[in-house]
Symmetry: C2
Subunit: 212 residues, 2 copies
């Protein structure tokens, strides 16, 4: 079906806005708008206002650049977090992903992207200077690189590593290896090769191990 003409301009505007979202085509946009129209007026209001408020009120943490409701995000202001470790991630989604594992209790630093000369993204487009400043001034003991295992991720890791120069801080990188649940024969050679080189003491992988 091709809907070129809508009987209402406000209706059309709503459909078009839905269709700007990734993975939502014109037909789904229409279905979603018709769904909204079946709701109470107050609920449609609430829906729209959630995004108006998002635009007006969202802030970014002055320290780690994570999303926040004030100048400091809930992670940076949480007194229970370990303030001596910084986990370097590409974006907010990665913060949420790592938080959901419940395996990390330190702070974050959101770069806002990765160095990618092909896309015209250089170190100055990212939050790297503020990361170096934090490491130099905030008594940081360890920096964990948690960027994508791609060329851009590796380039960014290496750039930050070089920038830190002689600064005395432990630098680690999240483990790369065979994904849990994956069959060995379908794992690519580079990952498999790395997982042999960086093999782990078996005992640390056992349940109830205090190092696990």
């Amino acid at each position: 079906m091709d809907f070129t003409q809508f009987p209402s301009k406000v209706f059309e505007a709503a459909v078009n806005q839905f269709a700007t979202l990734p993975g939502i085509g014109k037909k789904t946009a229409l279905r979603l708008t018709l769904f909204l129209l079946r709701q109470e007026k107050e609920e449609i209001h609430e829906f729209g206002n959630a995004f108006v408020n998002l635009a007006d009120q969202i802030k970014y943490c002055k320290t780690c650049h994570n999303i926040a409701d004030s100048d400091e995000c809930e992670i940076c202001s949480n007194i229970k977090r370990d303030k001596e470790i910084i986990c370097v991630v590409e974006n907010v989604q990665d913060v949420l992903a790592i938080e959901s594992t419940q395996q990390y209790n330190g702070l974050y630093h959101v770069l806002g992207g990765l160095i990618s000369p092909m896309d015209g993204i250089g170190p100055n487009d990212l939050n790297i200077t503020s990361l170096i400043e934090r490491i130099e001034n905030d008594n940081i003991k360890e920096v964990i690189f948690a960027l994508s295992a791609t060329m851009e991720g590796d380039t960014t890791n290496f750039y930050i590593y070089r920038k830190l120069g002689s600064h005395k801080v432990k630098i680690s990188i999240i483990a790369r290896g065979v994904s849990i649940g994956n069959e060995l024969e379908y794992t690519d050679e580079i990952t498999l090769g790395r997982s042999i080189v960086n093999r782990t003491n078996f005992e640390t992988t056992l349940p109830n191990n205090k190092n696990n």
Copy 2:
């Protein structure tokens, strides 16, 4: 991934609003919100305001109950449409679907549902009285039933048919038969049986036929 804690309340509210939409789970809602956050503030505003405006400004045509920007929809107010034919449909989506075929130039009447005793929907919950009034007062020559080929659709058709009683108006129903492109062996028996009983003169199906 299970994202129970978001670092921002306005962010969380936006994610939750997306997740109220049909077919959009928590993870997609998160992805869509993060996508919006990457846009300019004005664009996020525009997105939210489209729905606030939808809630505030959408109207329903006083004549046919289609969505509209004023008291009369663009179809009812279009002088080029044939004002002597009414196509009876269940909802706004069906109006759009029939419009997109570009095969119909008359008016519509949106019932707002179908008679369904199981769901507690009776004739008085639908726009049937206003339909009868239009047929009796507006010099209507033909009424086309274009409801779903279900028990509820058939019940509603029959109810309206009985309501019209002795009123002199031609009543037709959209053709039911084998869908174009469908193979015969996969067509259900009832549809196939009907399509034999209601067979069409072959010549009318030929291209360039003036009755086509």
